[in-house]
């Protein structure tokens, strides 16, 4: 057994074929708590290549949204503190001024959110809201903005885009609204789209449609995507690579097929085995016992230790992200010995 290469102490980014578009190195986020600083995210390292679709998964409260908002510079200015680097095209976003951030938001980086109901301004038409994004970043006329907004609505598969352009959010169904949100986020052709649980609030049938739209857009325009979801099944349909987060840390990373077939972290394995679509077994799905610890209550051991069936004495120290193969990383020192069940085992 070769000694796994430890990467998180001296963050080296995972190797990908192309130079990465987004390179997150040792990202740490803490908020001002009532009496002490509370670290919410620690040592988050992953990258997204141009045009690539990467899935960020984990249960509720693992820090996925916080990570996404940090990439957009949208966390509260007061009280938030950051560590590490957020490199977009080699430029560290964490060093940007607010004015510089604004030039990139909506332009280089787009984000869509979970709740299409409340994420659009209720008193403006969706066309106006898309056109506004365009006119913020490009010097174009209202007429031109209108044309491009209609194009964007068409691109996300909204029928009758001209009529829908002048519709108010409340006049559209949930799925339509989420499409409008996507149209708004992609209108300026960002290099990276962060989609935070884009389908969670929607009906199952609509979920698949939205996922397809996102996949198509990414494939057609070469836009990279960070697809945030608690649903590993959904993510595996769209993304070529998967990053698993647990309790504010990245615990596993790898190509989708590798991760599904042979997870290298007990947490990912647990997530996979709780998926109805992948388990052949009948009856109750084996869900991971216990709950994600709250920020502030993170143990000094392996953070998954109290829920892990494979826990040993060696697990009682802090775990680092280890390289366990070509493009594979795991935050479990036992990952070499364990033969964890994936979706087919």
């Amino acid at each position: 057994m070769t000694s796994p290469e430890q990467i998180s102490a001296a963050p080296a980014r995972p190797r990908t074929d192309a130079a990465p578009l987004l390179d997150v190195r040792g990202l740490g986020i803490s908020f001002a708590g009532p009496d002490k600083r509370i670290s919410v995210v620690r040592d988050v390292t992953f990258s997204v290549a141009p045009g690539e679709c990467v899935g960020l998964v984990g249960e509720s409260g693992c820090g996925k949204t916080v990570t996404g908002l940090a990439l957009m510079g949208l966390l509260p200015v007061h009280g938030s503190r950051f560590e590490g680097q957020l490199l977009l095209d080699g430029e560290d976003l964490l060093t940007l001024s607010e004015a510089q951030w604004r030039k990139r938001r909506g332009r280089r980086l787009g984000m869509i959110f979970q709740e299409p109901m409340s994420a659009l301004d209720p008193v403006f038409t969706i066309g106006e809201q898309i056109g506004e994004t365009l006119r913020t970043h490009f010097r174009i006329s209202r007429r031109e903005a209108r044309d491009r907004a209609i194009e964007a609505l068409e691109a996300v598969g909204i029928s009758e885009p001209v009529r829908r352009h002048d519709a108010y959010p409340h006049e559209l169904s949930g799925g339509m609204r989420q499409r409008a949100m996507i149209a708004m986020a992609i209108s300026c052709e960002p290099a990276l789209l962060i989609a935070d649980e884009p389908t969670t609030a929607l009906d199952v049938t609509v979920q698949a449609q939205i996922t397809d739209v996102l996949g198509e857009l990414s494939a057609r325009s070469g836009m990279a995507m960070l697809f945030i979801s608690h649903d590993l099944g959904l993510v595996s349909q769209t993304c070529s690579r998967i990053v698993t987060m647990y309790a504010g840390e990245v615990v596993e990373m790898g190509e989708t097929d590798d991760v599904l077939l042979k997870p290298r972290h007990p947490y990912t394995s647990g997530l996979l085995r709780s998926l109805p679509s992948f388990t052949q077994r009948k009856g109750r799905l084996p869900s991971i016992p216990g709950r994600v610890p709250r920020p502030g209550d993170f143990p000094e051991t392996c953070r998954f230790q109290d829920r892990c069936a494979h826990s040993r004495e060696g697990c009682l120290t802090r775990q680092h992200l280890l390289r366990v193969g070509e493009q594979r990383f795991s935050r479990c020192h036992r990952s070499e010995d364990l033969d964890l069940p994936g979706v087919l085992s």
Partner: protein, 318 residues
């Protein structure tokens, strides 16, 4: 669209009738509790019982109460507000003479409330929890709590008696001397506006803070919009819905408070007319005044409702 508007207005007009009837019926009932007899007042000190009885018959005061009220309401709905029991003059003329100074002060006070309350609310909201915000919020709570007549007397003693900038009492007719009317109305309007400023600033602040923390403002930030654009375009446009409601309420309160404030400033407006009519049990005058005031309040609310349908696309127009 126009057909819809007509139907909307028609429906509102139908809704207004019961409100008018209830308000005037309440006044009619209350006035029966006031001691005294208008007929005796008119007849004078040396009148005989027969004299008074004759006058009562003349005025219709001998008829059953429901009949007196019914006749009055029937005529009022046809635009005839009857005559004063005491002077015999048409109530409508009296109201037309006394209402303008009252309305002028109320509208003046409303404008002051908006012009000061709105900027204060915005300032407090954009600097939420700053020293300025806390100052505005606490002064606003004070402004809502302070009694109007007391504030009026303070204003008079400082700005009229102390500095001599404004007249202490009286009013000028707007049609003859507009700036004179403004000068005379300034202190009473300022007095009345205090509560309005406070109410508008408070409500706008909390509404704006709520909007600025909403999900869609996060979306706007994710689009790269500047904070100024988010505040002035989206923040105010959304908070304007609350503001509209508050302005309607403030107008109603202000109009009510004007009636009392007139006493402090000795303004010959609707207030003193109502007080005199109540003392003399001159019910046609009292009901006429209330009738017109209620109509004004209802019209104001109707305007607000109409503006609402313009400002908020979610309000169905039928």
């Amino acid at each position: 669209m126009n057909m819809q508007l007509v139907r909307f207005l028609g429906w509102r007009a139908v809704q207004v009738l019961p409100v008018l009837a209830m308000a005037t019926l309440a006044i009619f009932g209350l006035i029966q509790l006031v001691p005294g007899d208008p007929a005796a007042t008119i007849a004078g000190e040396y009148a005989t019982a027969e004299n008074i009885e004759a006058i009562r018959r003349d005025l219709g005061l001998d008829r059953p109460l429901w009949e007196q009220y019914g006749t009055w309401l029937w005529n009022a709905l046809q635009g005839d507000l009857s005559n004063s029991l005491l002077t015999g003059l048409p109530v409508l003329d009296e109201v037309a003479r006394r209402l303008p100074p009252t309305l002028f002060i109320a509208v003046f006070a409303l404008l002051i409330s908006i012009c000061i309350g709105v900027p204060l609310g915005i300032l407090a909201a954009t600097r939420a929890d700053s020293a300025l915000d806390r100052f505005v919020t606490s002064v606003a709570s004070l402004g809502v709590a302070v009694p109007n007549f007391w504030l009026g007397m303070i204003f008079v003693s400082i700005f009229a008696l102390g500095f001599g900038w404004f007249p202490t009492t009286g009013a000028r007719p707007i049609s003859e001397d507009f700036w004179g009317a403004v000068h005379h109305a300034a202190l009473p309007a300022a007095t009345l506006a205090t509560a309005g400023i406070a109410e508008i600033a408070r409500q706008l602040r909390s509404s704006l803070i709520e909007v600025l923390q909403s999900q869609y403002v996060r979306t706007l930030r994710a689009k790269g919009l500047s904070p100024a654009r988010i505040l002035w375009k989206h923040g105010l446009r959304n908070a304007a819905l609350t503001l509209l409601t508050v302005i309607g309420l403030v107008f109603n309160h202000t109009l009510g408070a004007t009636v009392a404030t007139e006493a402090v400033f000795a303004i010959p407006g609707a207030g003193s007319m109502i007080v005199n009519a109540a003392i003399n049990k001159d019910f046609p005058v009292l009901q006429g005044a209330v009738f017109v005031l209620v109509l004004i309040v209802i019209s104001m609310n109707l305007i607000i409702d109409l503006l609402y349908t313009v400002l908020d696309p979610r309000v169905k127009k039928d």
